[in-house]
Amino acid sequence: MTERLIEVARREETGFVVVVLRGSLGAVETPQFEQVARQLVSSGSVRLIIDCSQVSFATSAGLRAFLALAKRVKTQNGCCRFAALTSSLREIFEISGFFTILEVHDSVEAALQ
C-alpha cells in the first residue's frame, strides 16, 4: 500500500497542528500540500508545525509552497514552524536564504515548545 504523502495531526494540548510530510515534494506533490495548507489556514488553524523529517527531496516548487504558507500564516497572526529538516532540505533552505526568514527547529518536540 502506498503511504500517504501528507498526514495532519492535531496536538490540542499545545494548540499546534502538526503536518507530517513524506517522500519527495516536487511539482507533482506540491499542489496536494498547498491544498491541505490552504484548508488548514482557512479553517483557522494558524499555528502550524511542518514535520520534514521524512522529506527525501524538495524542488523549488515545494519551497515556494513553504514560503507562501509562511506568508499566509503570518498575515493571520499565526506561526509556521519547520521541524526536523533532512540534510537535503537543509541544503536548499541554505541556498534559498530560508533560514533567515523561517522558523526552523531541530525536532517536532523542540518546535512544540
Binding site: 523549488s60 519551497l63 515556494r64 514560503l67 507562501a68 506568508k71 536548499i92 534559498s96 526568514i101
Partner: protein
C-alpha cells in the same frame, strides 16, 4: 535620427560576429570539399560535401535569424521574436538528422559493397584542417555560452563539436585506409567511421532538440534559476503580503519572470510601487538578461496555480 537604444539594436553583437565567421568558414568548406569530391571516387568525401551544404544552410539561417531578432521588437511582435531562435535551432536539428540518416545509409551500402577509394589526399588534408577549426569554433561558442545563455549559440557549439569530431574521424579513417590500402579490412574503415560520425550528429541533434522544445513550449526555468528567484523573494519577505504564483519562461536569450504578489491594502500606491521596484531590481540583478514583472494580485483574481 536614431536614438541610443535604436543604435544599440542595430549594432552587430558578438554572437552575430561569431556566426559570420562560421558562415565564411562553411562556404569555403563547401567550395573546397566540392572540389575534393569532384576529383575523387570516394563516396565518403561526396557525402561530406552534402553534409557541408546542409551545415552552411543552417548557419546562414541562424545568422539571418539573429539579425532579425536584434531588430525586434516591432509593433507586430511587441515581445520580440526570440522564439525564432528556437525555431531555427529545430531546423538545424532536422538538417542534422537528415544528414546523419544519409551518412548511415551510405555507410551501410559501403559495408555491403566495399570499394577502394582513390584521389583521397585533398580530402584528407581538408578533413584535418577543418577538424581543428571545427573544434576551435565550438570551444569559442562554449566560452560565449558561459556569459550569455542563447539556444542558437548552444546549437552552434554542439553543431561545430559534431562537425569537428566527424572531420577528425574521416581524416583518421582515410589516412589509415591509404596507409594500409593493400589489406582488405581497410576497405571497411570509411563506412565504419561514417557510422560513428552519424551517431555523433544524432547525439548533438538530440541535445539541441530537448532544450529548444522546452523553450518553445514555455517550460519553466531550470531549478538553479528558480532557487535564485526564491532567494530574492526570501530577501524581500517583508515587502509583500502574500505569494500567489511565480511564472517563468524563456524566449530566445531573454528570460521572463512574472511574480504574482499581494501587498498590504493599507499601503499607498507609491509605497507599493517602491516595493515592486525593489523586488524587480533584486530578481533582475540575480538573473542577468531577465525581464521581471511583479503583478499585484489577489487570490480571487485568478485562483491558485
Amino acid at each position: 535620427m536614431m536614438g541610443p537604444a535604436t543604435q544599440a539594436r542595430h549594432k552587430p553583437t558578438e554572437r552575430e560576429r561569431s556566426l559570420r565567421t562560421a558562415l565564411v568558414f562553411c562556404l569555403v568548406d563547401v567550395a573546397l570539399m566540392g572540389t575534393a569530391a569532384f576529383h575523387s571516387n570516394s563516396l565518403t568525401i561526396f557525402s561530406d560535401f552534402l553534409k557541408e551544404c546542409g551545415d552552411a544552410i543552417a548557419v546562414l539561417a541562424a545568422f539571418v535569424t539573429l539579425r532579425a531578432v536584434r531588430r525586434a521588437p516591432s509593433q507586430r511582435f511587441a515581445y520580440g521574436i526570440g522564439k525564432l531562435e528556437n525555431l531555427v535551432s529545430m531546423s538545424v536539428v532536422v538538417l542534422m538528422t537528415l544528414g546523419a540518416i544519409a551518412i548511415a545509409a551510405q555507410a551501410l551500402y559501403h559495408l555491403r559493397h566495399p570499394v577502394a577509394p582513390h584521389g583521397t589526399v585533398p580530402g584528407i588534408l581538408i578533413f584535418t584542417v577543418y577538424a581543428f577549426t571545427g573544434f576551435a569554433i565550438s570551444l569559442h561558442n562554449r566560452r560565449l555560452l558561459k556569459s550569455q545563455h542563447s539556444p542558437i549559440i548552444a546549437s552552434q557549439a554542439a553543431l561545430w563539436f559534431g562537425k569537428g569530431s566527424f572531420d577528425a574521424l574521416m581524416a583518421v579513417s582515410l589516412i589509415t585506409a591509404l596507409a594500409f590500402r593493400g589489406n582488405s579490412w581497410s576497405l571497411y574503415l570509411d563506412p565504419l567511421a561514417s557510422l560513428v560520425g552519424a551517431a555523433f550528429m544524432i547525439h548533438s541533434a538530440w541535445s539541441i532538440a530537448s532544450e529548444s522544445v522546452g523553450d518553445l513550449l514555455d517550460a519553466a526555468l531550470e531549478e538553479t534559476m528558480q532557487f535564485r528567484i526564491l532567494k530574492c523573494l526570501a530577501a524581500h519577505f517583508d515587502d509583500y503580503e502574500l505569494l500567489h504564483k511565480v511564472r517563468t519562461r524563456r524566449s530566445g536569450s531573454r528570460i521572463y519572470v512574472e511574480l504574482f504578489l499581494e501587498f498590504d491594502p493599507q499601503l499607498a500606491m507609491g509605497q507599493v510601487r517602491e516595493r515592486i521596484d525593489r523586488i524587480r531590481r533584486s530578481v533582475g540583478d540575480s538573473l542577468p538578461g531577465s525581464d521581471v514583472t511583479v503583478i499585484p494580485a489577489e487570490e480571487t483574481c485568478y485562483g491558485e496555480g
